[in-house]
């Protein structure tokens, strides 16, 4: 049987690794290559690197860092951040990245995502969906470049991305980012059951049992930041990941 994947999601900013809270409050964590080497040793299921500034500042992906990361990585590696054209995607796949996430570009124009899925295969392209709750408790798709929500419904939007050809959806909650408040299980439930492609859920994990809850809610894979880079109440930086045996018992609780 297919194992549910547990994926550390690591944020790149100016070539360094950071962790955020609610997509803000950047804290420097360390060097991405060092982190990657530790995750290699821990035999992690998969890794996602996201450059959180590339789209905001209209920058190219940080090719030097990405090349170093890809060549050291003996597990599946995904990248998102500032991807605007097919040439960049081709380059990312060539340097050894398995899957490329497209987020901001698709909010206004699906043509890149459609063409990329067709040309490079659905399984190489991830559709990113950031969400945020409104004051009245409704959840909308969030535009991290503009720094505000739009009027799109996350379920409909995820279905639109699936129809456009992506092989996977990455669902990330702004409110829960770095909050240790658990995943948005209702939303994971709704989105995953409206899709026939895998869903990666992200945002809010505080413990290994949260991972299990998100999978029970319907996520094919769970991503998290804080629990894999922090340790203890004072958020001391410590890279960790459950062993294969721990994972097996966590996911079969």
């Amino acid at each position: 049987m297919l194992k549910n994947r547990v994926i550390p999601c690591l944020l790149l900013r100016d070539g360094g690794l950071v962790k955020t809270e609610k997509f803000k409050k950047y804290k420097y964590i360390g060097d991405p290559i060092n982190a990657l080497r530790i995750f290699n040793e821990k035999e992690v299921d998969e890794l996602i690197f996201m450059d959180i500034d590339a789209s905001r500042h209209n920058k190219e992906p940080n090719w030097e860092t990405l090349k170093d990361l890809a060549s050291e990585c003996f597990m599946p590696l995904s990248y998102a951040g500032g991807v605007k054209n097919l040439k960049q995607i081709e380059m990312l796949l060539k340097i050894g990245i398995e899957k490329v996430g497209i987020n901001h570009q698709s909010l206004t124009d699906l043509s890149l995502l459609k063409e990329a899925s067709r040309q490079f295969g659905s399984s190489s392209i991830i559709g990113g969906v950031d969400v945020k709750n409104s004051l009245f408790g409704k959840t909308y798709v969030y535009d991290h470049v503009k720094g505000k929500s739009n009027s799109l419904d996350p379920v409909n939007y995820a279905q639109t991305l699936e129809a456009a050809g992506v092989g996977e959806i990455f669902l990330n909650s702004v409110d829960r980012d770095g909050s240790y408040s658990g995943y948005d299980l209702d939303l994971i439930n709704k989105v995953s059951h409206s899709l026939s492609i895998p869903l990666i859920a992200c945002g809010g994990a505080s413990s290994y049992s949260d991972l299990n809850a998100a999978i029970a809610a319907g996520a094919s894979a769970v991503a998290a930041g804080s629990i894999f880079v922090y340790h203890g109440p004072h958020r001391a930086v410590l890279i960790s990941y459950p062993t294969a045996i721990q994972l097996e018992s966590i996911l079969h609780e």
Binding site: M1, L2, K3, N4, R5, N40, E43, D45, E46, A70, S71, E72, C73, F74, M75, P76, L77, E90, L93, K94, I95, G96, E98, K99, Q119, F120, G121, S122, S123, S124, G167, E168, L195, S196, I197, P198, S220, A221, A244
Partner: protein, 204 residues
């Protein structure tokens, strides 16, 4: 020298890096004539079946590949789409495959409401269908990383090497004489993939 064929897209850097980690130099080649002094061949690949076959045809790979594999019997390992190209053909495309193995490629298809997702993406187990040098000294509980929407169905079960379950039992590796193919990505499967590639390098 191991030659990794570059015929378009594919995660060639990570295959080369994994081989380097084993201690073997490999060369990524993009011209058919470079295959003349190969001792082993890796045929990688991601993407669609027809686009893979067209690349091989348009860039004149077929003659030398057939000669090296079928006549000279060089060990060859197909990875992911590379494995699928070794079959007779795929539901994904109209072009015939290389036709080296008695197998066909079909699309995963599940009933509406099924919990099973397509692509089959992530870590899964493999069940040996026969013994092989490729599988010697296995790690405890072998698992490998898969990403694919189409699977290999064998027409000659003696060629099947590994099986995997995803809604149905499909051929996740095959082997006949010098020809081997794996549906998963050994280059992205930690020590499990490393061992398999090491066996390919050292035992053939």
């Amino acid at each position: 020298m191991i030659h990794i064929i570059n015929y378009g897209l594919g995660n060639l850097g990570s295959i080369k890096n994994m081989l380097k980690r084993i201690g073997v130099e490999a060369e990524i080649i993009d011209k058919p004539e470079q295959l003349e002094d190969a001792s082993k061949i890796i045929l990688p690949g991601v993407g669609a079946f027809d686009s893979g076959m067209s690349h091989l045809i348009d860039n004149n790979w077929l003659e030398i590949l057939n000669r090296k594999v079928l006549t000279d019997k060089l060990p060859v390992l197909g990875i992911c789409l590379g494995m699928q190209l070794m079959t007779k053909g795929s539901e994904e495309g109209a072009l015939p495959g290389l036709g080296w193995m008695n197998a066909k490629v079909k699309k995963f298809s599940f009933d509406e409401g099924s919990k099973l997702k397509i692509p089959h993406m992530g870590w899964n187990k493999v069940i040996p269908a026969k013994s092989s040098k490729l599988l010697e000294d296995p790690e405890n509980e072998n698992r490998f990383y898969f990403v694919h929407s189409y699977y290999v169905e064998s027409e000659n079960e003696t060629e099947s090497l590994l099986w995997t379950h995803h809604g149905l039992k499909f051929v996740s590796a095959f082997e006949r004489d010098n020809i081997m193919g794996v549906q998963f990505h050994p280059e992205k499967s930690h020590k499990f993939g490393l061992k398999l590639l090491k066996n390919f390098v050292e035992r053939y």
